[in-house]
Symmetry: C2
Subunit: 252 residues, 2 copies
Amino acid sequence: MTVTQNTSFFDQHFLNHISLDCVVFGFHDNQLKVLLIRRKFTKEWALPGGFVRGDESIEIAATRVLQERTGLDNIFLKQFKVFSEPERSKRNPIVQDLVESGARPDLEWFKQRFISVGFYALVDFSKVEPTPDSISDLCDWKNLGEVDSLILDHNQILNKALETLRLQLNYQPLGYNLLSDRFTMPELQRLYETILAKELDRRNFQRKMLSYGILNKLKERKTGGAHKAPYLYEFNLENYQKALQNGLYGGW
Amino acid sequence: MTVTQNTSFFDQHFLNHISLDCVVFGFHDNQLKVLLIRRKFTKEWALPGGFVRGDESIEIAATRVLQERTGLDNIFLKQFKVFSEPERSKRNPIVQDLVESGARPDLEWFKQRFISVGFYALVDFSKVEPTPDSISDLCDWKNLGEVDSLILDHNQILNKALETLRLQLNYQPLGYNLLSDRFTMPELQRLYETILAKELDRRNFQRKMLSYGILNKLKERKTGGAHKAPYLYEFNLENYQKALQNGLYGGW
DNA sequence: GTATCATTGCGTCGATTAGACACAAACTTA
DNA sequence: TAAGTTTGTGTCTAATCGACGCAATGATAC
């Protein structure tokens, strides 16, 4: 089969009409954060994203993009929705950016209609080195509550990602990708509370969490805090993976 | 914005590289069924699918395709995954079909790499009028267990759709789109049992189902059967929609 | 050195829910 | 009219959920 190749963009060959956008979640200081980039000239904020090369699946393309933006391999990634409204890429600030920058190598290519596949990613905040792409001058974390207007339909994409994440929480385990290897029960609880934007009972949370059988309790405690030292835990990866696959609630 | 238009196919203008495939589920004779089409010349079976026009979102395109295949409007539709392996459309039987048919209006166009958005649809079996598309000679229901080799990665798409449907069952109501307006509790139970491929306790099923508050019990019974006449139910659409949105289990 | 105080570990209690099963009523067929 | 299924409804016990109590811990203030 002949793959139809396209106008090139920075010496890469990308598929026409198809893009991807990533909502990268991190957790730090009891805050849920999103990784954003800022356009060089328009100074507008956007979700990190990219295009698909001829030899890539869309997952591979997303992995590549996130590697470039975060420095990380092996990121937890999940497709959650395709955004395809014909109007969505009108008045594209990327085009505007390229015009104003003078560097407009393949301007025409950016003018086409794009259908974007939305991914969300969960990463260990402390391991990420935010790195802007070639048409951005900044890449940084923003608290979820402090994100304001993004380009195109990126606010909508972000909201849908969050909604999906909250749903996911109800039938899949979560935390391995967002916390460091060893963590305390209160830390895990803060994560859940932050995502759900709601307080949970400390004791019931622990009981429920332990009942899943995805945690290993360590003998060590986390010292240095101002109060009673909590035990450290780690995820039991074998059971964690099983729970990811089979879900946490039987349901039927 | 200028939408990049493409080689035309049957006087339509479709977006390059993007296709959609629909897994249409129906329920009849206590069997879960899938709507399939058969290629004119190669006689291979496939999922109904299509392409996206310049003025369509991908959901609108899927709705159009399903209207053509089933005669129905207002179909329950859900995106579940994008299939984008670079190898997936190699040795494309559609191209082969067009070659053998002699009618090869835009053969080149079909040779490109396609990224396909998978949808699943739930329909009332009795209301569907299966209608083949222009490169197929047959459109018909198949029992889920009796589907054998489909073109490309369509088996994989079908399996993923079924998996998603089963997951959905655990936190969303189901049945309104697959059953007729009035139905009996045993009928609803058979539907669940068929999807889950597992038997459920009659009495516990009824208790759980009623507890959701999405059913109206009618005074009428379904007569004509060989045994005690069961009551008829209908869905309480208001509560059904609410349950679809909020989910059935709190979780957290 | 000792009291203070927020936080953690572990446990209890009642109410609700889930799973297994019993029994009578209904309706067709033999 | 009896037999054989299927349906409607109810019961029992065990497990689970949500709300809360209390003692232990460990840095900080005095």
